[in-house]
Every structure is written in C-alpha cells, then in structure tokens.
Amino acid sequence: MADDIARLDDMAHLDGNALAGPLSEILSVEATTAWWRCPQCARSGTLAQLHVYGPEPGLTARCPGCAHVALRLVREGEYLWLSMGGSSGAFRFRTA
C-alpha cells in the first residue's frame, strides 16, 4: 500500500542474504542470486537485494522499492512454511 502513506525508511531491516540459510533447507540451489521482478512496481534485482524483516515471528522479504511482499518464511519446529507473495497460500515443508 505505497499510495498515500509516507513511509519511515526503516533501519530495522536486513536483506536477502539472511534468507540463504533458511532457504537452503528446502532449495537445493543457491537462492541469493535468484532474480526477481516485482509485480507491483516492476523493479528487478536479486533475492539478496530484497529487504528482509524478522526473523521473528517470521521472515518477510519485500521489494526494496515499493515494499510489496515477495516471500514469507516461518519456522515451526520441524516444519518450514513458505509463501511466495503476500496473498498466496503457503507450503508447509517437513525439514530435518
């Protein structure tokens, strides 16, 4: 909702490098170099460049330009929940 709301440039976020470890549990390929194009503002870049909030209560990765949700990751014991985008369903993976 980038419309009429002024945003505080939030200093509390990390970046997609922080997703490397958690994603390594469910992806067998390196994730930080994956390329992504924002469906909301068309900005493109690597997963490493996403702005990442968390890790509690979950990891939320957003477009660095417009804050559109790219990916969400939640650890629940032996499970890892992954949702691509902000409004699509989530997959619950059983990990080691």
Partner: protein, 199 residues
Amino acid sequence: MTSFSPGFRGRARTLADRLPPGQYPTEQFPVLSAGPTPRVDTENWTFTITTESGAAHSWTWAEMMALPQQETTTDIHCVTRWSKFDTPWRGVPLDAFFEDVETAADFVVAHSYGGYTTNLPLEDLLDGKAWIAHTYDGYPLSPEHGGPARLLVPHLYLWKSAKWVRGLRLGHEDEPGFWESVGYHNYGDPWREQRNWGD
C-alpha cells in the same frame, strides 16, 4: 459507610500465575515487524468498519477521540515467548464503535496501514475484550509500537493486536490473515499455547 475488611488483599496472585505456558516475563517492549513502519498523520487517519453487506461506518481521529475513552492496564503475550505485565493503555473499546453497527457476521479481518491483516471471531472484540488503543504509558502510541492507533486484544497473542489498524471487515468466513496464512494459529489463545497451525 462501613468498609468491610479494610486492608484485606487475599492471597497475592504470583507473577507465575500470570505467565501463560512457554512464556518468559520481560521489562522491555520488543518491536517485531513484517515491513517498514507506516507513518500516518492523525489528520488523515480514519478507522472504518465494513459489514458483510458492504455498509461502511467511518471515524476520523477527532470522531474517535469523542467516543467514550477507557484506560486499561493489562498483560500482553507475544508468540515469540515474551510476556509483559501491567501495560498501561488508553483507547476506545470496540463496543463503542459497534453501538451503531448492524451485523450478523461472526468473523472479522482487521487490516492496517502498510497492508498487515489478522483475523478473529467478532465476539473476541466485544464485551470489554478489545480496544482501539492510541496512548501507551501516558504518551501517544509511537509508530514502532503501532501508533497512532492499534488494535489491542490482550487475551490473544499480540500478533492479533494489529498495529496501525485502519479498519475491520466483517464476514461469515474466517479468513486467515498475514501470519495465519503462513503457519500461525488461526485463533491464538496463549493459555492453550495456540502458536502454530497444528497446536
């Protein structure tokens, strides 16, 4: 008037009784976020309740401040395991907003500036159980804690107390919100330790 049993306090409720399972007490007030902190001016702020039929009831900041105000001191419990006792809030009970709202809906999706959502049964917002809170510890609620106003539903885990709340959408279906749709529990009762989907 005679005062009965002056000074009697009964057995003091220990802090341990107030701590739900799996929680630890904190004096701090940690800030957790899922995105950038929205900056909303009270001049532009509105709160809207939309019923299942699409009827919308809106309040501006001034209109909200003209509603009956309440102070409440309550314990809050975060799903990340911290609990904070005796937090002092001031705000408007949801009952005051719902005075003039006609609805047969059972469920609510609270939605916020910045896009956050969370879902609850409507009855969990009524009968003195929830507020739109704008003041914390005597000061205007800071943006990092959900200001200018947040939903406050202390009997559920704090992720249900939507920061930067903008409105409520009433409906017949229980629609999982931001965290509920990615593994968190649909209801979130700290006393039954309902943290995740399978709990």
